[in-house]
């Protein structure tokens, strides 16, 4: 059975539903919720890095450049690789950089 869980993003207090067979980022974007930056969505770029504060989950393989073995053991993961096994509470660590191409003009 495809269970449905609730994910709470503590940074903006937004919560969304996430099915057991989808990753947290997919759950967030499915109905247009926001809070975690959306990058490559395949575990490589690091922008969706989160700290899982509570809840059980399984994490698929992700880039070691962005999440070290030590970090992973502390509950740090890339949201696009996390599949919930219970309700989840998380805070956002990653960010989308902003390229300032107009620095010289301003």
């Amino acid at each position: 059975m495809n269970k449905k869980y609730t994910v709470l993003v503590t940074d903006n207090n937004e919560s969304f539903a996430c099915y057991a067979n989808e990753n947290l980022l997919k759950g967030m974007t499915r109905l247009g919720h926001k809070g975690i930056p959306v990058g490559c969505r395949n575990g490589g770029c690091g922008v969706c890095k989160v700290q899982i504060k509570s809840g059980e989950y399984e994490a698929k393989i992700m880039s070691r450049e962005h999440v070290s073995v030590a970090e992973e053991s502390e509950g740090i993961a890339l949201a696009c690789r996390v599949f919930p096994k219970s309700d989840i509470e998380l805070s956002v660590l990653g960010k989308m950089k902003q390229k300032d191409f107009f620095a010289s003009i301003s």
């Binding site: 990058g39 490559c40 395949n42 490589g44 450049e65 962005h66 989308m96 950089k97 902003q98 010289s104």
Partner: protein, 306 residues
């Protein structure tokens, strides 16, 4: 135009988190063809309309990105001349033995000011493009997915843009075909060694040795739209497109492979010669340069790299 020296991009080696998922993506979704696997587990792929044995090598690694990009050179004499240029430029240059990559001759490997690793080589075994060389049909049967025609170029991100542009123009005889310039500062350079709008491109970025995308050519805008259908059908993460770039005029779509490496498939309706003028874009037209129709910059497209 007689091409001497570097003829074209020869191959790119990409680091991937999972080999099986990656082979499935590049072959089933994009239409590349697996042509070999070696003892180290590296997988060799080619696009259908290429004659050489491979243009993409997938290598399992802890983090994604580009291992190196290699260019094919016309003759051994040119290789020696370019090797001497690279040494004079100040690159760390080494020779990699023939056969280190299956089906590939000796490669001259060198570093660059932006931290990327490049190679040049002369010999690669011929696999064929699936058609006879006498009275060929226009395309072979059995192609899958997007049916990528050839590996076209990479766009790379690095800090010392000026240094790598100097390397490619002075040591490797490329021309700057198109650029983004902010006053005196070159932000992006699109370099060509051929008739194409670009064979390699660099964008200024604070980190070294990053890849923005590996790009594969399609023949028509309709093929690009069909690729957009496949991206949705196969639940591939879409980045931007389908749309047109102002810069290079490319009709394009971007998406991510299973490790987060960005891919592009595109078709182009521009060409250049060595005497073509350099085209320049300014920051106030950057929206249009990248997204000719919507004209809005996109943080994910600009900043997400592997």
């Amino acid at each position: 135009m007689a091409i001497t020296g570097v003829m074209r991009p020869g191959h790119v080696m990409l680091n991937v988190l999972d080999i099986d998922e990656s082979v499935k993506h590049y072959c089933e979704n994009m239409g590349l063809i697996e042509t070999d696997r070696d003892k180290q587990g590296r997988v060799y792929l080619k696009c259908w309309d290429e004659h050489d044995w491979f243009s993409v090598v997938l290598q399992k690694n802890d983090s994604p990105g580009m291992d190196h990009m290699a260019f094919k050179v016309d003759t051994q004499e040119s290789l020696l001349r370019l090797e001497a240029n690279l040494k004079e430029f100040g690159c760390n240059v080494e020779r990699v033995a023939a056969g280190e990559l299956n089906h590939c001759g000796e490669r001259v490997r060198f570093d660059s000011p932006t931290g990327h690793t490049f190679e040049i080589y002369v010999e690669k075994d011929v696999y064929g493009n699936g058609l006879p060389t006498t009275n060929p049909a226009p395309w072979p049967e059995g192609l899958k997915g997007m049916q990528a025609v050839r590996f076209d170029h990479c766009l790379l991100y690095g800090d010392d843009l000026d240094g790598s542009v100097k390397l490619f123009t002075e040591a490797l005889e490329f021309d700057v075909a198109e650029q983004v310039v902010d006053g005196e500062l070159q932000i992006a350079a699109f370099l060509s060694c051929s008739h194409k709008a670009h064979d390699i491109a660099f964008i200024r970025h604070e980190e070294k040795n990053k890849i923005h995308h590996a790009s594969f050519m399609l023949n028509t805008w309709e093929n690009v739209l069909r690729a957009a259908d496949i991206i949705s059908m196969k639940d591939i993460p879409l980045d931007i497109g389908p749309t047109r770039h102002g810069l290079t005029r490319g009709q394009t779509i971007y998406f991510f492979d299973p490790s987060g490496n960005r891919n592009e498939v595109f078709c182009e309706d521009s060409y250049r010669y060595p005497d073509s003028p350099v085209l320049t874009w300014t920051p106030d037209h950057l929206g249009q340069a990248i997204f000719y129709h919507s004209r809005e910059l996109n943080d994910r497209f600009l900043n997400v790299v592997t």
